[in-house]
Each structure stands twice: as C-alpha cells, then as structure tokens.
Amino acid sequence: MLRPYYFWSSFSPVIQSIGRRSISAIEAVGRVGHFVMDTARALPDVGTWARLLILQMRRVGVDSLPVALFIAAFTGVVLALQASYTFTGAVPLYFVGTLVGKTMMLELGPVLAGLALAGRVGASMAAELGTMKVTEQVDALETLAYDPQSYLVIPRVLAGTLMFPVIVAFAVATGIITGWLTSLVLLDLSTQDFIKGLKLFYVFKDVWFGLLKSASFGFTITLVGCIVGLSTRGGAEGVGRSTTRTVVYSAILILVLDAFWAVVLL
C-alpha cells in the first residue's frame, strides 16, 4: 500500500496542471475585461472611428452578403422539403410556410449566417490585425498618437453589431423566398397556402428576436476577432493560430449565446 506522501505526490502533476489552466483562464477573462474597458474608454474619440466606420460597414456587411444569401437560399429549400417529408399525411401542408418562416427568423437565419460569418469576417479580422501586430504596424499607429482601440477596434465592432442584423434580415427573406419557390414547384403548395402558413403563428417578436440575436453575434464575432488578432505573437504561424482560434471561439460563443437568448427571451 502506498504511503500518504507517495499517494498525494502521484496526483501532484495533475493538480498543478489544473491549477495552471485555472490561473490562465482567469487571466484570459481579466484580459478580455480590460480590453472591453479600454474599448469603451476610447468611444468618445468619435473623430477617429467615425470616418472608418463606413468602410468597415461595407467590408463586414455588403461584402458578406453573397455568402449569407447563398447559405440562406439552400437552407430555405431544404427546410421546405424536410417539412413536407415530416408532415406527410398527418399535418396540413400549409404548415410548411409556418415552419420555414419561424425557423428562418428565429434560428437558422441568425445562427447559420453567424457561423458562416465567423469564418469570413472574424477570421479575416484576426488575420489582418494579427499581421499588423506582428509587423509592428499597431505599434506604429500608437507612435503616431492613435489609440488602436479607436482606430482599429471600435469601427470593426460597431460595424459588426450594426450590419449583422441587416445581413440576417436579407438572409431570412431569401430563405423564405426559396422555401416558397420550392413549395410552389416541388410540393404543389399554392402561394396562398404558403402565405397562410407563414402568417399562422407569426408574431412581431419573431423578427426582433432574430435581429437582436444577430446583433449580439455580430458584436461577439468582431470583438473576438479584434481581441485574438491584437494579441497575436510569433509571425506567420501566430497569425494562423489566431485565425483558427477566432473561428473556434466565435462558433462556440454563437451557440452559447443562441441558447442564452432562447432561455432569456422565449
């Protein structure tokens, strides 16, 4: 039988590892809090971030629209077909409109667009800011008396928060339109019936819930992209790591936020 000293010492590396990870997690939370405080403190510097906001809104919003619409279009088709397959014989077919509308507005519109844009917007921000960091461009910005939070972070985070709901609104509309076209062509469902289903359980909350969620996704994805990008170290390899991290963290946070809003608001 092991004596108590040897018994506990065999656990020592495990306990040390847990301790190290816990400390590093707490430090990471502290760094994020500090970063958000710094960003909030830079908000009054409107002269710097306001003129960069339009550019970022175009990059985050307009340039991301094709990807979001492409995904939404096929989601609408699949939703209509799966609804019809599930309802066969048991539920009136006009419920296809209900399912397509509700699912696109409440869940798939915001979440699928969010996940796709975590890859497109979040990764590109992390790569851009990471490259600026490792090539000392962020330091150069500071020596030119700019605050990186007002020059780099605020325009990106604001653009993400403002433009994601717009993208999702277009994506939801596209998904509903392709769902309707699929019902019309492949399911022999009339337009009147599809619209009847669409209106059946519609409440205005469906719209603002989806848009609020998208704004929170936009805020999170861009904030993660900025935090991870600006903490990049170690050249090209570091930039690659930051890009991957941003996509993974954003995807996880989108799903957590999705559940959070469902619990709080539904």
């Binding site: 600026m132 090539t135 330091d139 150069a140 500071e142 020596t143 030119l144 008396a145």
Partner: protein, 241 residues
C-alpha cells in the same frame, strides 16, 4: 532631454534591462549599440510608452513616461518620430497616406498635409512615389519612407530602431547620410539603436554600449574607438573571441 533612469524590464523570467541609465541631451544624436537581444529596442520602446518598465523610468522633457495617462502619452508621442526596424508601413495604404496619417491626427489641413508629405518625400529622395503601395518598394525605399513618415511630423525627437539592418552597404550609407541630413536640417534630437558600427561612427555624436542590461560605456565615437574595455573592444572590432 531624454533620460533613462535605472530602467528595469523583464519578459517572464528573462531579465532584459537591469538598471539601464543614460542621458540624451537636446540636439545630439546618441547611438545605442549592443549585441542582438541585449535590450536596445526594448529601451527605445520605453521612450514612447510602448512598454511599461518594471522599475525605473524614462524622463522626456521632465515627464516620467510611465506615469502619463492616455492623453499625456498622446501629447508626448506627437513630439516624437519613431522609425521601426522593418519600417512598419501600413501595407493597405499608399506611401502618401502613410505619411499623412500622423499629420491628420495633429489636425492639419489637407493642403498643409500635402505640402509636408511632398517635402518629406523629397528629403528622402523619394519624390513621386506617393501613389505607390509599400509592397511595390524595395527594402531600402521602405526604410526611407519610414524615416519620411517620422520627419513629416517635424518632431523634437526621432528614434531609429536598427535603421540599416538587412540593407546592402550602399543603401546603408544612404540611410546614414539621411539621418545626418535630418539632424542638420531639422535640428532634432536622435536616438539610434544599431549594431552596425560603421553607421554608429557616421551618425553618432556619442555612442553608448548596452551590455547585460546595463550601460557598459558611453563616449564620443573617438573615445569608443580608443576604448580599453575588453567587452566594448570585442564588439566594435567584431571579433568572435
């Protein structure tokens, strides 16, 4: 005047600066030499508050840099031009926009900005390159744009971080001449970090050697060339042992 006062800085367990002290008088150019990784660039970054000291401080015009708040740092940085080792030009902007960025921050009008950009590019012999992107320039040209970006601000101080590293001897000589010309034309105080001894002798009014985190020796180029300190002598002669 810039004064390093007993500056200490470590990264993790690794101490880099361990009591570095040096005074840089107005209108002189001091060259800080030392081995790679000896903390020369680290010391330079403390002047503009890019790094925070563990102990000690840098005093610029009577202000302790580490005690300045964000606004104080902004005011301090508006009087200092910084030339980075790899130029650190904003790669998504043209050369002219790179130069104009710092001037816009100072609230100058567009006409004055254009004039200053033209003047600074002419001073570094790069007139007509304003519309080009940094990726379209050679390494030497990028460094000259980096110097022009600092000059355009008409600062009181210019800090050069390894301005000739990675350049061929002729381009290095061009950069050296440019640094001398900048001091003569603008009368700015300069701090140059380098391990290029030819450059140090050309541009420095005084040369200071940083070794093991502390000041090893400081003196005029002639005094350094005549030094009897074995460490400094080995470094300036570039001997392996």
């Amino acid at each position: 005047m810039i004064e390093f006062q007993d500056l200490h800085k470590a990264f993790g367990e690794k101490p880099v600066l361990q009591g570095f002290s040096l005074k840089i008088r107005d209108a002189e150019t001091v060259v800080v030499i030392g081995y790679s990784g000896s903390g020369k660039s680290v010391a330079l970054k403390h002047i503009v508050g890019l790094l925070h000291p563990d102990a000690g401080d840098v005093i610029v015009d009577g202000q302790a840099v580490s005690t300045l708040d964000r606004d104080g740092l902004t005011r301090l940085r508006q009087g200092i031009g910084y030339v980075f080792q790899f130029a650190a030009l904003f790669d998504s902007m043209t050369v002219a926009d790179n130069l104009a960025l710092g001037l816009r921050r100072r609230g100058l009008g567009e006409e004055e900005i254009e004039e200053r950009v033209r003047e600074a590019l002419a001073l570094v012999d790069l007139s007509g390159t304003g519309d080009r992107l940094p990726a379209e320039l050679s390494g030497g040209m990028r460094k000259r744009v980096g110097i022009a970006r600092a000059i355009a601000l008409r600062p009181r101080y210019i800090l050069y971080d390894e301005p000739t590293t990675g350049l061929d001897p002729v381009t290095s000589a061009v950069i050296d001449r440019l640094m001398v010309r900048t001091r003569e034309h603008l009368g700015v105080t300069g701090v140059v970090v380098t391990h290029d001894m030819r450059s140090a002798y050309t541009v420095g009014d005084r040369i200071a050697m940083l070794f093991e985190g502390r000041m090893r020796q400081v003196g005029t180029p002639e005094e350094i060339q005549r030094t009897e300190d074995a460490v400094v002598r080995q470094f300036i002669e570039g001997r392996a042992e």
